[in-house]
């Protein structure tokens, strides 16, 4: 299926649409659960919780003066200039969609464009009534986009790049959230709230009769092979996207850097003793974040930026 290939620039745009839309979704889910925690927990330390959240989302707050919930929301949710915020992620997805507008379906384009046009209005409402309507809107729109991606785009290389981006982002975000839970548990939502934020509550409950303890939740979110937001599920999906994009021979394993990194992470998770998960979690999460970085770089070098150095020779003689 990949005989044809596709424009490198276009592939990069699609990959980043996948990443940014997923980022908006995951961030909305996370912020929602943290805000709940802050509202419901009477002993909550607002400043510390905000710092913890900013730190796991890769935007550490360095200043000494205390940070309020409103400040935190400004940075993580509304700040268009910040590519890690929700509004910023949408803006990033929109810019990439503009560049690939001839490729994506017009329904995807309209959905994304409409969302972007609507966000400022949602923001002013949210500033009055609290962020939950905004966050809900974001979750709905990202779900709509994901649905349109799957239903209106041919499942060709372009779709594979988009899904690849979505998957890598999802692994990265899940790892970050779990880290927040592990490293600064007192500020993070409890395990069940955490499941709820991932939309995983019912699936988790049905999947196990065991005690609903930290280890079983972490096991579910990392090792479950059927739940689409689990790390292992995403690793498998990412690998199959890469395989579709560039099928390797059946007999010798791929020399592809990205697929090798994914395979290493998978190998580690595939045969893990789940009862030991919690103890190994910090190190495991670090490994997952590194894997995401490695895969991202490998894909970028291999598919998006494979320009060779400019060669100076005489311009084609006639």
């Amino acid at each position: 299926m990949s005989e044809q290939g596709m424009l490198s620039r276009l592939a990069e745009s699609l990959y980043w649409i996948g990443r940014y839309v997923e980022r908006a979704d995951d961030t909305a889910r996370t912020v929602d659960s943290y805000v709940h925690r802050m509202v419901e927990d009477p002993f909550n330390d607002e400043d510390a919780t905000c710092r913890s959240l900013l730190s796991i989302l890769g935007m550490p707050y360095e200043k000494d003066e205390p940070i309020t919930r409103a400040d935190m929301l400004q940075v993580i949710v509304y700040d268009v200039e910040n590519p890690n915020s929700i509004a910023g992620a949408f803006s990033g997805a929109y810019e990439n969609a503009r560049r690939s507008r001839d490729f994506i379906s017009s329904e995807m384009w309209i959905a994304l464009n409409k969302t972007r046009n609507r966000l400022p209005q949602m923001e002013s409402t949210a500033r009055l009534l609290g962020p939950s309507s905004y966050l809900e809107y974001v979750r709905e729109r990202t779900a709509l986009l994901a649905g349109l991606t799957d239903a209106t785009l041919s499942h060709d290389d372009g779709w594979n790049f988009l899904v690849l981006g979505r998957t890598i982002e999802r692994i990265d975000m899940t790892a970050r959230l779990l880290r927040g839970r592990v490293l600064s548990a007192e500020h993070a939502p409890d395990w069940l709230a955490f499941l709820r934020a991932n939309g995983a509550m019912e699936s988790f409950m049905r999947s196990t009769n065991e005690l609903h303890d930290a280890n079983s939740v972490a096991t579910f979110l990392i090792l479950d092979r059927l739940f689409p937001r689990s790390v292992l599920f995403s690793l498998n999906l990412a690998d199959s996207c890469l395989f579709e994009i560039q099928p390797s021979g059946q007999r010798i394993a791929s020399a592809d850097m990205a697929r090798q990194s994914l395979a290493r992470a998978r190998g580690r998770l595939d045969f893990m003793d789940s009862s030991q998960l919690l103890a190994q979690l910090p190190e495991l999460l670090e490994m997952l974040e590194d894997t995401c970085l490695l895969v991202n770089d490998a894909i970028t070098t291999k598919f998006f930026r494979h320009e060779d150095a400019v060669l100076w020779s005489s311009e084609g003689a006639l």
């Binding site: 424009l7 620039r9 309209i110």
Partner: protein
């Protein structure tokens, strides 16, 4: 000053002497507008405004925009369509085709034998001093002989209702995407109006363009790879580039996606490089190839011109076409039609004066405020001075500019562009309009898209309609018949379609019972 009531609103007609497209006398629509007038007159004004609002929302959501002064804004579509009758359109179609054929012959001559100079039709100096004359285009012979794959010819209607050519655009004319999008929006918003009129469709344009581009392929390439080359998302017409690429089903590329190697052009793909044979380029000559033109261009492709010269890639439109857009050359086009085609021009130019002649120059300078003054290489309405509307200071500076270089200016008799009722600020008012039909050619005759883009100047009395000056547009309907014939059966199917089977539903007796209780 006379006024008529339309949709309960007072429709002020100005007394500028301009031709009114819709009304021949106050309250009396022209024959082709009668049905439309009757339909629209029935609308409740509030409903009309609501529809207008809906229309602009649709455009915003679809991202149908034009970058104006660095800002993305929707290209305003007025909901009152502009109508052209069948007989009138027939003349326009033939006139535009004739003009494009003459310009094509002229360009081939300029960058080839130069017969037109030898026979004294136009002085060689006029061509070589044109800022768009391109020496690099010499001896680049398009395989199908077509330099003007796409042309946009601007027309205006004068005071007595006669169409005249205002300018030729045979470089990279834009606007056709709005024709397509306008029609789509109008059929959605006003489907009722369409059922009472037989309107020529416009959606075959992308297919026509693709066919023409494929015909431009280098020799020996049976299944050419055709791409659209865009300067990128910051270009005012980016939306159009996307739309055309999508509707033609071909790649939209930017300069950085292409690379030239030993006079062949390739695009960078995820799995290596793929050869490119025909480039529908929407990048100006100046920026196309940093090795040939502006070395600071980052939107071009180094080596493209040599690849074209080697015959390995075709550029559409061709290099150097700008010389035909030069407004001084424009004054010679009627002569080209006689010289190359042996025909009389079907559509006349606007009366224009060449300022290189000292006598003419003297006369024009004496009464500058009686002319429209245009720089010969301007586009998008830039630099135009409308004498009767200009203040003293503008006139003085344009006078200085003209005296400095009379070659670079022309003077035209001011034409009161025709007006058309237009919805502005919740009022229906007359606004000046022009018409830009688009012509496509692949070497097997010139095809003219029925209608074209009607641009409307949204400011009262404003005469410059260019979208880059914040103008709007109208859907343009070429009617198939002067009068609407009764319609036959919608489709000519032999027998009525078999009824489809029943859609299965879930067996839900239980819930049905529940509902009944």
């Amino acid at each position: 000053m006379c006024s008529v009531a339309l949709m309960g609103m007072i429709f002020e007609d100005d007394s500028s002497g301009a031709w009114n497209e819709m009304f021949e006398a106050p309250g009396k629509p022209r024959p082709i507008y009668e049905r439309l007038f009757a339909e629209i007159d029935r609308f409740d004004p509030a409903e009309l405004l609501q529809r207008s609002d809906q229309l602009s929302h649709t455009f915003l959501d679809r991202g149908v925009t034009f970058a104006h002064s660095g800002e993305e804004r929707p290209f305003p579509l007025d909901l009152m369509p502009r109508l052209l009758g069948a007989i009138e359109w027939d003349l326009l179609e033939r006139g535009i085709s004739q003009r494009v054929r003459a310009l094509e012959a002229f360009l081939g001559d300029v960058y080839g034998a130069g017969q037109v100079f030898e026979d004294g039709v136009i002085p060689k100096s006029v061509v070589t001093t044109s800022s768009h004359f391109c020496r690099a285009a010499h001896s680049i012979e398009p395989p199908n002989g077509v330099r003007i794959t796409v042309a946009g010819i601007d027309l205006v209607r004068d005071e007595i209702g006669k169409f005249r050519i205002l300018e030729d655009n045979v470089r990279i004319p834009s606007g056709v995407s709005y024709v397509i999008e306008n029609r789509r929006a109008m059929t959605q918003t006003f489907s009722a109006l369409f059922s009472n009129h037989r309107v020529h469709p416009v959606d075959s344009y992308p297919a026509r363009l693709l066919a023409a581009l494929r015909l431009a392929a280098p020799y020996g390439i049976g299944d050419p790879v055709v791409v659209v080359l865009s300067p990128g998302v910051y270009n005012a017409a980016y939306f159009e580039h996307v739309l055309l690429a999508r509707m033609m089903g071909i790649e939209l590329v930017e300069g950085r996606d292409l690379v030239c190697r030993s006079n062949h052009v390739f695009m960078r793909m995820t799995n290596g490089e793929r050869p490119v044979h025909v480039i529908y380029r929407r990048v100006d000559d100046d920026w196309l190839d940093p090795l040939q033109f502006r070395p600071d261009s980052v939107i071009g492709v180094a080596g493209l011109v040599n690849a074209a010269r080697a015959g390995n890639v075709a550029l559409a439109n061709a290099l150097g076409n700008g010389v035909a857009d030069d407004k001084l050359v424009y004054t010679y086009v009627p002569d080209f039609i006689r010289f190359y085609l042996g025909e009389e021009p079907l559509i006349e130019n606007v009366e224009t004066f060449r300022l290189e002649d000292p006598d003419v120059l003297g006369e024009v300078l004496q009464s500058l405020d009686a002319y429209v003054l245009k720089p010969v290489d301007g586009s998008g309405g830039k630099g135009i001075v409308i004498g009767p509307q200009a203040d003293e200071q503008t006139l003085t500076s344009v006078r200085d500019a003209i005296i400095m270089s009379p070659r670079n200016w022309i003077a035209q008799r001011p034409v009161a562009l025709s007006t058309h009722p237009t919805l502005v600020d919740e009022q229906v008012s007359p606004r000046h309009v022009d018409l830009r039909p688009f012509a496509v050619s692949g070497g097997q005759g010139v095809w003219v898209l029925p209608g074209g883009l009607t641009r409307v100047a949204l400011g009262a009395g404003e005469l410059v309609v260019n979208s880059s000056r914040g103008g709007g547009s109208k859907d343009t309907w070429v009617l198939n018949d002067q009068l609407v014939a009764p319609r036959g059966p919608a489709t000519d199917v032999g027998q009525p379609p078999r009824n489809a089977g029943v859609i299965p539903r879930q067996n839900d007796e239980y819930t049905d019972q529940e509902a009944e209780q």
